[in-house]
Amino acid sequence: MMHRFLAILERDLRKFIRNPIVVAMSLLMPIIYLVILGNSFQGELRRLPLAVVDMDNGPYSARVMELLASIEAGSGTVVISVVSDQGFAMKALREGIFKAVIVLPPDFSRRVIRNDNAEIGLFLDNAETISAMTIKAAVGGALPELKRDFISVREHHLEAGLRSVELYRKIDYDQTLIPGIVIMAIFLGAMTTGAFNMVMDRFLGVDESYFLTPLTKTDIVMGLVASGLLITTVLAVLVLTLSSVISGYPIWESLSVEGFLLLAAVIIFSTLGLQGIMFVIMGRINHPRIVGVLGGFLNVILFFPSGAIYPVESFPAWLKVFADVNPESYSVHAMRALLFKGAGIEAVKGDIIFLSVFAVLLLGLGTLSFKRAL
């Protein structure tokens, strides 16, 4: 029994190392995600083109221009272009030359002086939501200064100072992606080993020669799972180490021995759970083309709703329900607690219990659905 199971394990390990392109892609793809996602989402928006049409040319429109110029000179969020023709400005906004247009109406200063509901027109290109929100926030933040200037009797409020205290060391956005990147490595490992080898054996007709031996269904599944687990765990640890080096987050400083063991448990149970999913889905598949299609699909539906990129709390109710049964959510939650918070067993035991039960159930189902026949 042991002989047979170990023989399958050895076979798969040998096949894996003889496909260095698979090894390289399994390592590179999560790292590329880290670099691309980490840098494309965390950048501050700067130099957004903003047109200002001053139809007032009064003292308060000049003051508005000064305030806007201070944003340009200060945070640099916007680059201001003064445009005299409102029609031209609106056309340019629609063509994407400007991200927003501010229109100061002809009676703006007079209304301010009369304290008569003075309004500034802010036209936003809300097809780019994030740019529009950023400009709105920057302009909106500057306008109270304008109000302070023209209120003759200044009101002084007792201002409560808010001092935020960060519980953990500073973590950049790309560093917060590390748990997601590790779970992606685990997903890729689970997808390209274990059940995938079974599909390839079927596709190439190699499985027939195995079914002619005393190998049982359990031998085959156990051997495939063991080889997949070994390969995937090594890949996950390598990706974790590379991610920490690339993002500059020293995981070895934040992990205790207990934390390391818990992290290993999370990686192992996550791998087994994902392998279980693969076995259930690919149990009877006989063409690698299906695996390719399913792989992309599964990656999207498991990775993005896991909280790896954006907090689960922001999801709509239906997606939260999915996140509640998504093993990657628990993996990400546990890894985030262990890596960034130095948490112990109490913080992650729920995650580990879920992941282990999920793994046992899915691997059991996968073994049952595996067909030891042509």
């Binding site: 002989h3 047979r4 170990l6 023989a7 050895e10 076979r11 040998r14 096949k15 003889r18 496909n19 596709f203 190439l204 007709g205 190699v206 027939e208 020669s209 195995y210 079914f211 002619l212 031996t213 005393p214 190998l215 006989n286 063409h287 083309r289 299906i290 026949a373 042509l374």
Partner: protein
């Protein structure tokens, strides 16, 4: 007598299609048995039932006394199988292929090592043992798979079209190997083949299977004697009345028929080449000038055609997946 393979009224149905229709066979231990038949006749289905890959719909089969359904695990330890398609793993070396396979049978390290060295030496692959199977030619891969099938010292070796797609040299090498293993290891061999010369060279007994039934069973000479087509001597003649010559030939002992055309005679005989001097001498005495003599010996192919007929079999068309397109045949598809 102890039978290595014994089947009793074996039936296998796929949906409404009957692939095997009451196959009864007795193959003695140490024999080499050939299964012949057109494409789709049921040969591979029979092999798959005997090798435990498929369960029969009804009937029973025993290999070395073990039931293929109830004692499938015991059967698998007693048989070595070389499937029709090449099934060795391309990403492993020749040695690894053998070693991993031997471990599936629970063989210990030293026993494995000794046996693999011996077999790779016998099939001429010792020097290529550490090369990946992907670098092997078709003939080398087939030899490796035969060696792999024998690694655990099975009592029965079952080969499904063992030389299909091989060049004549490789075929002869494979034949030599099978003869040798059979003699040295007292191996029982069951093989399916389309090649009549292969069956004639290797098999003590053959069964011709068609439409899932055995239509002829016996030794090769025995089957040849059952059919009316015999060896044919073709004589080209001049300077004689053909009908007179034919009448004389028809009266000779050993001649079973004689056909005439404008330029010669076609003499059907069970005496083969032995009758040629008698024919040539007698025709000369009749005043004929014999310009050429050709002997066409009766072959197993004649037997095969006699029992299975000439029409090409209409096999059930395979279907291709609606979702995947070409690639894998499927039950539901176009």
């Amino acid at each position: 007598m102890i039978y290595a393979i014994e089947t009793d009224n074996l039936v296998k149905e796929y949906g409404g299609l009957r692939a095997l229709s009451g196959i009864t066979l007795r193959i003695p231990q140490g024999g080499c048995f050939g299964l012949l038949g057109p494409n789709g006749a049921g040969k591979t289905t029979l092999i798959r039932v005997l090798t435990t890959l498929l369960s029969p719909t009804s009937g029973r089969a025993f290999l070395m006394g073990h039931d293929v359904v109830r004692e499938a695990a015991s059967v698998r330890t007693r048989i070595g199988v070389v499937p029709q398609a090449m099934t060795s793993d391309l990403d492993l070396t020749g040695y690894e292929t053998m070693d991993i396979y031997a471990r599936f049978f629970g063989m210990g390290r030293s026993e494995r090592s000794e046996r693999i060295d011996e077999l790779l030496g016998l099939v001429g692959l010792k020097d290529r043992a550490s090369d990946l199977v992907a670098t092997y030619s078709g003939g080398m891969r087939r030899r490796l798979e035969i060696a792999r099938g024998l690694v655990h010292k099975p009592a029965i070796l079952i080969l499904d079209e063992p030389t299909i797609g091989l060049d004549p040299q490789s075929r002869h090498v494979v034949w030599g190997l099978l003869e040798r293993f059979r003699m040295e290891d007292d191996l029982t061999i069951l093989l399916t083949t389309h090649y009549m010369d292969e069956a004639e060279v290797l098999c003590d007994q053959v069964a011709i299977i068609d439409y899932g039934k055995i239509v002829a069973l016996g030794t090769v000479p025995g089957l040849k004697s059952q059919i009316p087509q015999k060896d044919t001597v073709e004589l080209r003649l001049t300077s004689v009345d053909m009908q007179v010559a034919a009448d004389w030939v028809a009266g000779l002992q050993g001649v079973v028929g004689c056909r005439v055309d404008d330029t010669g005679l076609f003499v059907s005989t069970d005496k083969g080449a032995q009758i040629i001097p008698l024919l040539v001498g007698g025709l000369k005495d009749l005043g004929a000038l014999v310009t050429s003599v050709t002997l066409k010996q009766q072959t197993l192919e004649d037997v095969f055609i006699h029992f299975t007929g000439r029409p090409i079999r209409e096999e059930e068309a395979r279907k291709v997946s609606f979702l995947l397109g070409a690639g894998i045949p499927t039950k539901w598809g176009r």
